[in-house]
């Protein structure tokens, strides 16, 4: 479970034009469920996602991770809770690497290298045996119907294929939480439905899914266990 306690994120704090993107959000995101953050542009969904995913630190407030898998940090016993906003950077990096898998709105694939190499990128800092992770990457890509594109450059993929590569990359380190930021923003309805079917598979596999979207295909999906509505940095419904 992920627990947020009175989280605030202010950009340009202390300057002439401060902007509070997330304002006093307290929230519990249950393990193994699909939580959708819904709201218009500028409501603070993506900022909140980056805070939960350890990509930014809040201005105030705390975020606790409960039920982390063993080995997440060497000093943690199984079941220990971990407060992530205070973590020194090198521990934060470990959490980000092992606990979260990210699917970005723009996919953020690296041009000039192949599909397989893109998927392998998050594995390099872990120091795992290359043959093991390569076999895993091939398995993930085959599972997503991308077997024939393993060595193809990213530029030749369609939007749906590029997104599935991004999903394979998010899954390569076997994260417990998958974070997706507006994943269907660049997809047509059929591809969006396909995406939700993939999410259903991950939910069935016990993953926690956290998705931001203002697409009704996502937030009206029966897959969504909980829809949290945000506006102007506040949670207005579903908390």
């Amino acid at each position: 479970m992920i627990e947020l306690v009175d989280v605030v994120k202010t950009f340009q704090a202390g300057l002439a034009t401060p902007f509070t993107a997330v304002d006093g959000v307290s929230l519990r995101i249950p393990k193994g469920q699909v939580t959708v953050l819904k709201g218009p542009s500028g409501s603070g969904k993506t900022t909140l996602l980056t805070l939960i995913g350890c990509m930014a630190r809040p201005t105030s407030g705390r975020i606790h991770l409960h039920g982390l898998p063993p080995g997440t940090l060497p000093q943690l016993a199984e079941g220990d809770a971990l407060e992530i906003t205070s973590l020194p950077e090198r521990f934060l990096t470990q959490i980000r690497r092992r606990t979260f898998g990210f699917i970005f709105q723009q996919f953020n694939l690296v041009r000039g290298i192949s599909v397989l190499e893109n998927v392998l990128l998050p594995t390099y800092p872990t120091g795992e045996d290359h043959r093991v992770v390569e076999a895993r990457a091939v398995e993930r890509l085959e599972g997503l119907g991308l077997a024939r594109h393993l060595h193809a450059p990213i530029d030749r993929l369609s939007g749906g294929e590029a997104q599935r590569v991004a999903i394979a990359r998010a899954l390569i380190n076997d994260p417990t939480v998958i974070v997706a930021d507006e994943p269907t923003a660049h997809l047509d309805s059929r591809l969006s439905e396909d995406f939700m079917q993939l999410m259903a598979q991950f939910k069935a596999a016990g993953k926690t899914l956290l998705i931001t979207s203002h697409d009704p295909i996502v937030y009206d999906s029966p897959l969504a266990d909980r829809v949290v509505e945000m506006r102007d940095g506040h949670v207005v419904a579903g908390a």
């Binding site: 009175d6 989280v7 630190r57 201005t59 105030s60 407060e83 973590l87």
Partner: protein, 330 residues
């Protein structure tokens, strides 16, 4: 003041280190006063963000501080030609009243700076800043020490005047005079030799015991400090005699000169490094119960003890080989 690259570098480095440490000291004061990891307040999160940067800057500043000790003795040695009667750094340091107090202060800050770096390294092994309060408390002790040392060094270096008549090392470290240098030179070699070897053997035995049983690190730290003091006294009392092949020359600074293969630098580096490592292992002993440090702290203590033992052995080997090869027999 003498215009010398070493003097300018020392003054500049000390000024920078002081500025950084004073700023870090203020941060340390804020941390000691209001650090509360359970709070998610803006000020607490601000402290957490700043401590990472401040600790990194202080680490670099203290490495410069430690290296500046060697630059100081190197500069003092290089300046001896400017003074009438000086034959090595011993004479340069006696060129005004601030020379030896500066050297003493620099050795003291070097040891404490080394211990701070050990504590900082241990603190970064835990995810919840387990040693942040002791670390910044030690920093608050270190800040006035560095300020005092900078002031002494400033007085010494800016007060140096060429052609001042000073004492040569033979006179300063000669027997029959008043003062610590003469007292050390007057220590009888037949007494100091067994004391040195017994202290070295005790350090080795305690280290081996502590590494095997994970107990006795405090005693090992105490013996590391004892070894440092005994080794310095032994250098002046009898090691120097073998190195210079002269039964009456006790100066510990001529070792830094080319004629003696600059052997003083590895000797002092191994001695200081080993002492810091040994004391560091003992310094960490009270924190072994910290949950977030888990196995990291005993592992780090073991590394420090190995380091202390290897450096003490290297020091002993250097002087031992020199003694064996020297034609002088006492």
């Amino acid at each position: 003041m003498i215009q010398h690259p070493g003097i300018l570098a020392l003054l500049l480095a000390s000024g920078l280190v002081c500025l950084l440490l004073v700023a870090a000291g203020w941060q340390g004061f804020r941390i000691l006063r209001s650090w509360n990891l359970r709070s998610g307040s803006e000020s607490q999160l601000d402290l957490e963000r700043r401590t990472y940067l401040v600790s990194t800057l202080v680490s670099f500043a203290l490495v410069i501080q430690i290296l500046s000790l060697f630059l100081f003795i190197f500069t003092a040695d290089g300046l001896h030609t400017q003074f009438v009667g000086a034959m090595c750094a011993a004479g340069s340091l006696a060129a005004n009243a601030y020379g030896y107090p500066t050297l003493t202060a620099k050795v003291a800050t070097c040891l404490v700076a080394g211990l701070w770096l050990v504590l900082h390294r241990a603190d970064t092994q835990g995810h919840d800043y387990p040693l942040i309060r002791p670390k910044y408390a030690l920093l608050l002790l270190l800040v006035p020490m560095v300020l005092m040392e900078t002031w002494l060094q400033g007085c010494y270096l800016t007060g140096l005047k060429a052609d001042v008549m000073t004492s040569c090392c033979g006179s300063l470290f000669g027997q029959g005079r008043q003062g610590l240098a003469s007292d050390l030179a007057g220590l009888p070699p037949h007494l100091m030799q067994p004391v040195f070897w017994i202290t070295f053997a005790s350090l080795g035995a305690t280290g081996t015991f502590a590494l095997r049983t994970k107990h006795g690190t405090a005693l090992f730290a105490f013996l590391s400090l004892t070894f440092f003091l005994v080794a310095v006294a032994s250098l002046v009392s009898f090691f120097c005699l073998y190195i210079y092949e002269l039964p009456t020359h006790h100066c510990p600074f001529c070792l830094l000169q080319r004629e003696h293969g600059f052997v003083g630098y590895p000797l002092y580096a191994t001695l200081l490094g080993g002492t810091i490592a040994g004391l560091g292992a003992g310094l960490l002993a009270p924190f072994r119960g910290q949950k977030s440090l888990g196995a990291a702290l005993p592992r780090m203590q073991a590394h420090l003890m190995w380091c202390a033992l290897i450096l003490a052995t290297a020091f002993t080997l250097i002087v031992g080989i020199w003694m064996a090869l020297s034609p002088l027999r006492l």
